[in-house]
């Protein structure tokens, strides 16, 4: 479904990332992280508005600590853009929508 945000687990991550036909923006987050919650509605908007060029997915670091370790996430929110299955950009820390879109645009 266009604009839907999927939750990736340690079991589904590789399959979903490699099967994606568009770049995937993965949001590493957790329930207890205030700034993560603040950018959640922005990511929902981006998922819908940019559904032609990017998919948005989430990784809950509490449930998938191995994925956080594998991609060396040491601060959340961290957004990693995967293009053709490979990490191509990383945005650390919460940001406003205009700034996120700007950083994203240079990698899409």
């Amino acid at each position: 479904m266009a604009g839907a945000i999927s939750n990736l687990s340690e079991n589904t991550f590789d399959e979903e990332i490699s099967a994606a036909t568009e770049p995937v923006l993965v949001d590493f987050w957790a329930e207890w992280c205030g700034p993560c919650k603040m950018i959640a509605p922005i990511l929902e908007e981006i998922a819908i508005e940019q559904s032609d060029s990017v998919q948005v997915a989430k990784v809950n670091v509490d449930e998938a600590p191995e994925l956080a370790r594998r991609f060396e996430v040491m601060s959340i929110p961290t957004l990693i853009l995967f293009t053709d299955g490979q990490p191509t950009a990383r945005i650390v820390g919460a940001k406003g929508k205009p700034q996120l879109l700007e950083e994203l645009a240079s990698h899409l």
């Binding site: 957790a30 207890w32 992280c33 205030g34 700034p35 993560c36 919650k37 603040m38 950018i39 509605p41 922005i42 908007e45 670091v61 509490d62 956080a68 060396e72 996430v73 040491m74 601060s75 959340i76 929110p77 961290t78 650390v92 820390g93 919460a94 940001k95 406003g96 929508k97 205009p98 700034q99």
Partner: protein, 334 residues
């Protein structure tokens, strides 16, 4: 946390929307001012800021804290983000409109005051206002080292509640000596095996109760009279270079994480040259008032307070600003 994101406004095409009161900032001061002005039927607009991982964000510094134990009315304490969510909902309940955006420019020389969101060069402002309440707060100060930009998010953090999780069973450091530094250090001992508190002096400026808790915590060690000369590590934090302030001797403290809590700087860049500030950049308000040097512009919260800096004093000064603004709007003749 918000329903609205007014980020793509194009003020050039639209006439500015006019308000009696615009509140810039949404910490305890701004939201209390919003509650009071909304209840006075002034239909305030709150421009709450944009998400960030420093304390410069909607909800303010409390969004990055855990338990708040000293806000009256919560006998068991309340989580900082929860307190701010409640204040925001309370302001909205009385009709305050809240937009998630950052002010990029203000013109306060003439009335109505002009406020821009987005492109500061746009010909027309986004909003105009009869009265403006400034509650932009303060943000965390960084160490000012080159290594900071390289290592932020790679072991260097400004948000213990966000990142403590990633340092389970590791040895880390907190830089600072105030209440926020000690709160962070205590919180981080839930995860880290050892937290070294690095402080430039030989005594803390934190409150007695926070000091006692830190001294009683066996996982907290203290590096007194020490300043951070450098953060070591190319791709992730590997240690700190510390200098003893008395002997000038340097030593390496091996840590995988470092949390910065050395203090705050007021968010007053928007008002440079327009509103009177003290040497540290805090807005200057009238004695026992929220008035600034510009008639119709009021300031409240940490942006004008370097003495108390508490959630409850910020809220109280927000109430003062709302009442001052309401009385000023009633009394003006232009």
């Amino acid at each position: 946390m918000s329903e609205q994101h007014s980020t793509n406004e194009s003020p050039a095409d639209d006439a500015p929307s006019h308000r009696e009161v615009v509140i810039i900032g949404s910490g305890p001061a701004g939201l209390t001012a919003a509650i009071y002005t909304a209840r006075a039927d002034l239909a305030p607009l709150v421009i709450e800021g944009e998400p960030s991982s420093t304390s410069d964000q909607p909800g303010g510094q409390l969004m990055l804290t855990t338990e708040v134990e000293n806000f009256p009315g919560f006998s068991e304490g309340i989580m900082g983000p929860q307190l701010m969510t409640e204040m925001r909902a309370q302001a909205a309940r009385f009709g305050a409109e809240i937009v998630t955006a950052k002010v990029s420019r203000v013109e306060l020389a003439e009335r109505p005051f002009c406020i821009w969101i987005g492109d500061p060069e746009a010909a027309k402002p986004t909003h105009t206002a009869d009265a403006v309440i400034v509650s932009t707060g303060a943000r965390s100060v960084m160490l000012g080292l080159e290594a900071e930009q390289r290592l932020i998010g790679h072991g260097l953090s400004t948000c213990a509640t966000c990142d403590g999780f990633f340092f389970r069973d590791q040895e880390i450091a907190v830089v600072g000596g105030g209440d926020s530094a000690l709160e962070e250090a205590g919180f981080l001992t839930k995860f880290a095996s050892k937290v070294t508190l690095i402080h430039r002096r030989d005594e803390l400026r934190a409150s007695k109760i926070m000091q006692q808790r830190a001294f009683d915590n066996s996982r907290i060690e203290f590096a007194w009279n020490s300043v951070v000369d450098d953060v070591l590590g190319e791709t992730k934090v590997e240690g700190l270079s510390l200098r003893d302030t008395r002997t000038n001797e340097t030593r390496i403290l091996p840590v995988t994480g470092v949390f910065i809590a050395i203090g705050h700087r007021p968010n007053t860049d928007l008002f440079t040259g327009v509103l009177d500030m003290d040497e540290a950049g805090y807005l200057v308000t009238g004695a026992d008032r929220s008035t600034t040097n510009v008639d119709g512009v009021f300031a409240c919260g940490d942006v004008q307070d370097h003495t108390y800096r508490q959630a409850v004093t910020a809220a109280a000064s927000g109430c003062m600003a709302a009442i001052d603004a309401e009385r000023w709007l009633e009394s003006r003749t232009d």
